[in-house]
Amino acid sequence: MNQTAKVLEATGIRKHFGGVIALSNANLVCRSGRITGLLGANGSGKSTMSKIITGVYSADKGEIKYNGRPVRYRNPNEARQDGIAMVFQNLSLVADLNVWQNIVLGEEENKGLFLDNRGAMEHSRAIVDQLLPDLDIRKMVHELNPGEMQIVEIAKAISENPKLLILDEPTAALEQAQVKSLFDTMRALVKKGVAIIFTSHRLWEVMEICDDIVVFRNGANVASIDFAKDGKDPEKIIGYITGETKEAKTEKKARTVSGETVLQIRNLNYSRFLKDVSFELKKGEILGIGGLAGQGQHELMLALAGNYPGATCDAKLNEKKIRLTRPAYAIRNSIHLVPGDRQLEGLFLSHSLFTNIIFPKLGLSRQPLFTPRKKYRKECQGVIDSLSIVTHNMDMPVNSLSGGNQQKVVVGKWLSFDTDVLLLADPAKGVDVGAKRDLYDYIVGQVKENKMSVILYASDNEELIQYCDRLLIMYEGQIVATLEGEEINDETIVATSMRVR
């Protein structure tokens, strides 16, 4: 077999963050002149693996050999000097420098006493020309659109002439044509003997560009496929990603969803994040929003809660036209949001439970001049009891609570309101199992009594499968599929999310 030299060989990598095991026993081999695809569901350990190779994290256990020599980088700089370049998911550009200054940043060369700006511009121009010839390299980076920024980020990595290039979801922000020129560049690099690790959620891209793939699941590599030898079978790959053995599903409690429409959204548009999103929410329904991470789900939730003045849509609540351009409008119409980032968007962390829970009331019209403290304290105790929030008393600051109990407080804020539509953005993120069950039990109970309808976005498919009556799959800001009944299963969700079906 004409195997090329191993550039990178990682064996038995283990890494945990606190109690969470990100990688249990991961292995990865990259060969020069080949593109290796890394695949896996959200949180399967792909990004952690890339970051361990480049020295952003250090592994708890395991060995990494680079060109046959064991290495252990303490920071990204050491890896860079050895010829390992990584394109980060969260961009590493300086917004207030222009394109070429960013590309040569840290690699500037002098001509005499001063910087060789002309040489740097020529060098940058040559690299950018391969990727995006129309880009003006004198533009400031903060003037670029996300796709162009991603291109500059890639150009910055290539300009260092790496031996191993790690691309962590480089195509997420790119348009079709840009993806194509990126692939052309990748092929040219590979011809020169560079090894590339390519991560993407888009299966068709991986199948197009990669020579072989490694599938990660729950922190370990579960399969390696050499496309030339084993062929390309998307169904088989999805099987590896989701795992064949499924845990016994909890019985979905039967609910009766009435035919009455509570919320009707037509043609919701917001910048580049949401494109013509239309759907109906029935009374007593839990409507799920799924798909790969970052396809506009977060923006959809915020738009529905009135956070984007620039969003346009025709919205009807109980047959009545409403506007959703300010949070206050949404709240007045009994649309309440439990935001995804509770610490940043949902809570006043250093204030007491009491303050946090009664806070939305203070914004009501006809609020008495002096807060009826006694009455509110009673109500607050009611909230704490009905959500079983674990705390000594309601005057404890919220940041003394566990993540799960904090999330209950966010939900509790809306408890004394008549909620028509509850928007839940990833409510179980960073919440322990017990609190998660309490939370969902309460919400399902409310829905069952026909007290409210719920729109639920969860990054964990299991939650969607367990609780949703209908499931909308989002892709690049659009709803691409609606799943109902038996269709709501892991395999169908992953397949429709990656658009292979």
Binding site: Q81, V94, L105
Partner: protein, 344 residues
């Protein structure tokens, strides 16, 4: 006139007007014109020199402050640092011993660098918020200055006036005196400062100051030694403070532990008027110069407008707020226009 030509002129004008710094230049021109109208013989050589002399310290301190702010820092100790340098210089010099002036130059420069180094290490190395570090050090500088010179005074050598008015030095050669009449020493100091920044802005250090101030996390992953860059920014600031101190000692021929106090916040405000973001990474050191000039003209206008003493401070505050708000509004509206044109 034909239409084509007209169009070209219009588009050039439009480009100039949509320039981010256009409102600031407009304000500067307005202030300049107002002062010129109000001050009698504004264009007479004597008044020009007098104006330059009164503007110089603020201009130098503002440029130094701008370097620190662009690197993501802030220096609350510039005023007391300036005071301390004047006290150090006047303590080293002995009247009638010209050589002590050279000692004073060396010692003062060393003290300036030491102060920059201390601030820089606190900000860049120990990662203490710049506000805290320099607030604390400002008291240390003041304490030392008060120890050296409890009351204003001290000795200087005759030739130190080379930094203020060469004509006053009896022993100076005639040619130097003539030169001083054409180009006042204060202007030479400012030009020196500009040349210094011109050189630095063309080296890695200049680029890195912007990178670190703009996004120190990104700069760090790109392999830039961010601590060292912040220390260097503080050292550059110290050079500007040093130049301002030379001018002061030349002018007042004494040291004063409290003379610099009002300049600290003035310099910071002038940096903001010059369009430099307090969050770092954005703006030009030369525009700090513009900001300082606007500030200086404002005080001139107030002085010549015969506004009663009691209201002068109030008025200067109001004018500055109007100037900043005006340029902010302008930037916001032009940015909105730009975004709208991008969408269509």
């Amino acid at each position: 006139m034909n239409g084509k030509n007209n169009n070209a002129v219009a588009s050039a004008l439009k480009r100039f007007v949509s320039n981010h710094d256009f409102p600031r230049l407009l304000i500067l021109i307005a202030m300049f014109a107002l002062t010129a109208v109000m001050q009698k013989n504004f264009f007479a050589m004597k008044s020009i020199v007098r104006n330059i002399n009164s503007f110089t310290p603020l201009i130098l301190l503002t440029m130094g402050q701008a370097v620190v702010i662009i690197s993501g820092g802030l220096d609350l100790s510039v005023g007391t640092a300036l005071s301390l340098l004047t006290c150090v210089a006047t303590s080293v010099m002995r009247q009638g011993l010209p050589i002590t002036g050279v000692y004073a130059l060396l010692v003062t420069f060393a003290v300036a660098m030491a102060m920059g180094l201390i601030n820089g290490i606190g900000i860049g190395f120990f990662r203490v918020p710049p506000l805290i570090v320099t607030f604390a050090t400002s008291y240390i500088w003041l304490g030392i200055a008060l120890f050296l010179r409890p009351t204003p005074g001290g000795e200087t050598v005759d030739w130190f006036q080379v930094f203020y008015k060469i004509r006053n030095i009896e022993s100076a050669p005639a040619s130097l005196k003539a030169f001083g009449e054409i180009i006042p020493p204060a202007l030479v100091l400012i030009i020196l400062g500009c040349i210094l920044w011109w050189i630095i802005s063309r080296t890695k250090t200049g680029r890195y100051i912007y990178a670190v101030g703009g996004n120190s996390e990104s700069a760090y992953v790109t392999g830039i030694n961010t601590s060292w860059v912040q220390i260097k920014a503080c050292l550059i600031n110290s050079v500007f403070i040093f130049l301002a101190a030379l001018f002061f000692v030349g002018q007042s021929r004494s040291g004063d532990a409290r003379m610099g106090d009002p300049l600290t916040l003035k310099a910071i405000a002038a940096v903001v008027v010059g369009g430099i973001a307090l969050t770092g990474g954005r703006g030009s050191v030369y525009y700090a110069f513009v900001g300082a000039l606007i500030f200086s003209f404002v005080s001139k206008i107030i002085f010549f407008a015969n506004i009663p003493n009691a209201f002068q401070t109030l008025f200067s505050g109001v004018i500055i707020i109007i100037a900043i708000a005006g340029s902010q509004l302008y930037t916001l509206s032009s940015r909105k226009e730009m975004e709208e044109s991008k969408l269509t």
